[in-house]
C-alpha cells in the first residue's frame, strides 16, 4: 500500500542547475539529479528544508498559504510564536507587532509562548514519572525530527514523548474557546500558524503526531515579516495574554529544557547534529540523560529557512526580549510561569496525540532473501566504484549509486570514471580493429608503428 506524502518543499525546475549541492546535504538521501535537474524521492523526504537552505540558486520553494485564504473563514485567529518576535529587535514592543497582524486581517491573536508553558509542565511531569523505559526521552516539537525518526530511527519511536507541540495545543485550545465565546461553528473559524519552516507546514496537512489538528494552515514567516514591516502600528491598546520569559525561550535551542526545568538534558539543533545524536541514543550511549530537545534547524525554530532574519540576529533579539521580561517577573521559574498560566481547560496532550508510525526506508527489498542478494550485488558494485563520492552521477555517494544500480534506477556508466574507462576500452578495441587491414590491401612494406 503506497502512501502519498504531502511535501511543503518543492523544486522550481527552471531554476535548478543540477549542481548536486542539495543531494549532498539531504539527511535521508532523498534527492537525485536526473536529466540535469534535482528530483525529490517523496517517500524519503522529511521536509527538513536542508536542501532549500543549501541551494545556491534558490531553486527550492516552500509551499505555504496565501493571505487570501482568510476570506474563507468568518473569524481568523493567528498564533504568533517566539520565532516571529525574534525577527524584530527587542525595542519593537509586541503590541506593535500584534497591531500589524490585525492590520493584515486577523481578528484575534493567541500567543504561542503561553501554550508552551502548559506543554513545558506536561513534559516536566512526563519526565519525572517516566519509569523503566529506555532513556533519554526525545522531544516531540520538531516535525522534521519526528519524520527523521520514522524514516531512519524507527527503533526510537517509543522514546518520543507523547506530548503536543505548543502551536498545536494552542490551536486546539483557542478554536474551542473562541467557538464557544463567539457562538460560531468551529469550521467557520480559521486558526493560522506563522511557520518558520516547511516541516511545520507539512505537519498541518499531514500530521504524524496529532489526531485532530485544529490548525487551518500556515503562512511563511518571512512573508508575514515583510508585510509587518510596513504595518507596525503605534502602540495601540491591544491586549493579548502572553507567556512568561520561559515560554518565549522556546523560540531558540534550550528553551524547552529551561521551561520544563530539566537539568539533565541536552539541546541538539541542526539536522546533522540531530542525526548524530539519534545515532548515539540508538546505540544506548547516553542513557544517563533524561531528555533530549531536538530541532532540525540550527539555533532552533529561529533558524528555520522561512525566517527572514539571520539566525544569530534573531537569537540576540530573542535573548534581549527574554531579559526584558525577566526583569519584571519572579526569579523562580514555576512562579513566573504560574503568573501567566490562567487559562481554563487547556487541552491535555493525551487526548490529541497519536503514536508515530515507523516508515523505514532503508531496506533494499521487502523480502529478506532478495534483499540479501541485492546487498551482495551492491557491495560488489560499490567495490568497483572509485569511492570519491563526487556526486557527478547524481547520487549522494558511491554507496548511493550502488544502491540505485541494484534497484535498477541507475547504470554503472552513470559514474563518470566508469564511463571513461568504458570509452577507453572501446577506443582500444576500435584501434585494434583499425589495425587489421584486409590482406588484399596490405602494403608491401608495413610501416613501423608508432
Amino acid at each position: 500500500m503506497a502512501v502519498e506524502f504531502f511535501h511543503s518543499v518543492t523544486l522550481q525546475r527552471e531554476k535548478c542547475q543540477g549542481c548536486v549541492a542539495c543531494v549532498k546535504v539531504c539527511p535521508t538521501e532523498a534527492i537525485r539529479v536526473r536529466n540535469g535537474k534535482a528530483e525529490i524521492i517523496g517517500d524519503r523526504c522529511v521536509d527538513c528544508g536542508a536542501c532549500a537552505a543549501r541551494c545556491p540558486y534558490h531553486a527550492y520553494s516552500v509551499v505555504t498559504e496565501s493571505l487570501d485564504r482568510l476570506q474563507d473563514h468568518e473569524y481568523n485567529i493567528v498564533l504568533p510564536a517566539p520565532s516571529l518576535y525574534a525577527q524584530f529587535p527587542e525595542k519593537v514592543a509586541r503590541p506593535t507587532i500584534w497591531q500589524g497582524l490585525r492590520y493584515l486581517g486577523f481578528d484575534e491573536i493567541f500567543d504561542v509562548s503561553l501554550a508552551s508553558e502548559y506543554i513545558a509542565l506536561e513534559i516536566e511531569d512526563y519526565v519525572k514519572n517516566y519509569r523503566g523505559g529506555r532513556k533519554p526521552l526525545i522531544s516531540n516539537t520538531c516535525p522534521a525530527v519526528l519524520r527523521l525518526i520514522q524514516v531512519k530511527f524507527p527503533e526510537l519511536i517509543k522514546q518520543v514523548v507523547p506530548i503536543l507541540a505548543p502551536t498545536e495545543a494552542a490551536a486546539i485550545y483557542v478554536k474551542k474557546e473562541a467557538a464557544q465565546r463567539l457562538r460560531l461553528a468551529p469550521e467557520k473559524i480559521g486558526v493560522w500558524a506563522i511557520s518558520p519552516c516547511p516541516s511545520k507546514n507539512t505537519n498541518i496537512h499531514q500530521s504524524v503526531d496529532v489526531r485532530d489538528t485544529q490548525l487551518t494552515g500556515s503562512f511563511s514567516l518571512s512573508e508575514i515579516y515583510g508585510l509587518l514591516l510596513k504595518h507596525l502600528g503605534e502602540d495601540e491598546e491591544i491586549k493579548v495574554s502572553t507567556g512568561s520569559s520561559y515560554g518565549l525561550a522556546w523560540g531558540a535551542y534550550g528553551g524547552e529544557l529551561l521551561s520544563a526545568g530539566i537539568s539533565h538534558g541536552l539541546a541538539v539543533h541542526g539536522i546533522d547534529d540531530v542525526y548524530d545524536m539519534l545515532e548515539q541514543i540508538s546505540m544506548n550511549k547516553v542513557p544517563q540523560l533524561d531528555y533530549v530537545e531536538c530541532s532540525a534547524c540550527q539555533g532552533g525554530c529561529i533558524g528555520g529557512i522561512l525566517a527572514a532574519q539571520n539566525k544569530f540576529v534573531a537569537e540576540s533579539n530573542l535573548r534581549g526580549r527574554i531579559r526584558l521580561l525577566r526583569q519584571k517577573e519572579p526569579a523562580d521559574r514555576e512562579k513566573a510561569m504560574a503568573r501567566s498560566m490562567t487559562l481554563k481547560d487547556f487541552p491535555s496532550s493525551k487526548d490529541h496525540v497519536k503514536p508515530l508510525v515507523p516508515r523505514p526506508m532503508m531496506q533494499l527489498d521487502d523480502d529478506i532473501v532478495t534483499a540479501m542478494k541485492k546487498f551482495e550485488r551492491m557491495e560488489e558494485v560499490l567495490s568497483s566504484l572509485p569511492g570519491l563520492d563526487c556526486g557527478a552521477c547524481g547520487a549522494p555517494s558511491c554507496q548511493g549509486l550502488a544502491e540505485d544500480i541494484v534497484q535498477g534506477k541507475a547504470h554503472e556508466i552513470d559514474c563518470i570514471f566508469k564511463l571513461r574507462s568504458s570509452v577507453h576500452r572501446l577506443a582500444q578495441g576500435m584501434l585494434e580493429l583499425a589495425r587489421q587491414i584486409p590482406i588484399s590491401h596490405e602494403p608491401e612494406k608495413p610501416k613501423e608503428e608508432r
Partner: protein
C-alpha cells in the same frame, strides 16, 4: 540454511579512531536487509560492546555477521589474553578495570551482561593465552514499536 549473507570485519587493537566502525557497518547492512528496527538496535548494541572489548583488551579481533531470514548470528573472536574465570566475568559489576578507571565511569562490568541481555542466545568460549570467541544470536521477530 542456504540463504545466508556473511559479512566480516577486522578491528585493529587499541585503534580508538576506528572503534565502533564494525558494529556501525553491521547495523547499516541489517537495515538494508530489512531486519526489524528493534532487532537491528539490539544487534548494534551487543556488537559494539564486543567490538570494544576486543579493541581494548585483546589487541584486535574479527566481527562476523551471518544473516539469514530468521536470525542474525554475530561472532566476535580474538587471539588475546583470554578470560581466566568466565563465570565471574559474566556477573554484573565484575570488572578488571582499576579503581580509578571505575570511578571515572569506565569498566562498570556491564559489557558481557549487556551482550547476554540484548541477544537471544549467547555463548562465550575463552582460553587463557589463546583468545576468546563470543557468539550472539538475534532472532528477527518484530517487536512492537
Amino acid at each position: 540454511m542456504t540463504d545466508t549473507l556473511k559479512l566480516s570485519y577486522y578491528c585493529p587493537g587499541d585503534d580508538f579512531d576506528r572503534a565502533g566502525e564494525a558494529s556501525a557497518k553491521v547495523k547499516k547492512a541489517l537495515q538494508r536487509l530489512g531486519v526489524p528496527p528493534d532487532v537491528v538496535r539490539r544487534v548494534a548494541i551487543g556488537t559494539y560492546e564486543a567490538e570494544l572489548n576486543v579493541i581494548i583488551h585483546a589487541g584486535g579481533g574479527t566481527v562476523t555477521a551471518e544473516v539469514s531470514g530468521e536470525s542474525t548470528l554475530i561472532t566476535v573472536s580474538d587471539e588475546g589474553k583470554g578470560i581466566p574465570d568466565i563465570q565471574a566475568a559474566l556477573q554484573e559489576g565484575f570488572s578488571t578495570a582499576p579503581e580509578y578507571a571505575r570511578q571515572m565511569g569506565f569498566g562498570a562490568g556491564m559489557g558481557l551482561p549487556n551482550m547476554m541481555k540484548c541477544s537471544d542466545e549467547f555463548n562465550i568460549e575463552s582460553t587463557v593465552g589463546k583468545g576468546t570467541v563470543i557468539t550472539m544470536r538475534f532472532c528477527h521477530r518484530s517487536e512492537d514499536l
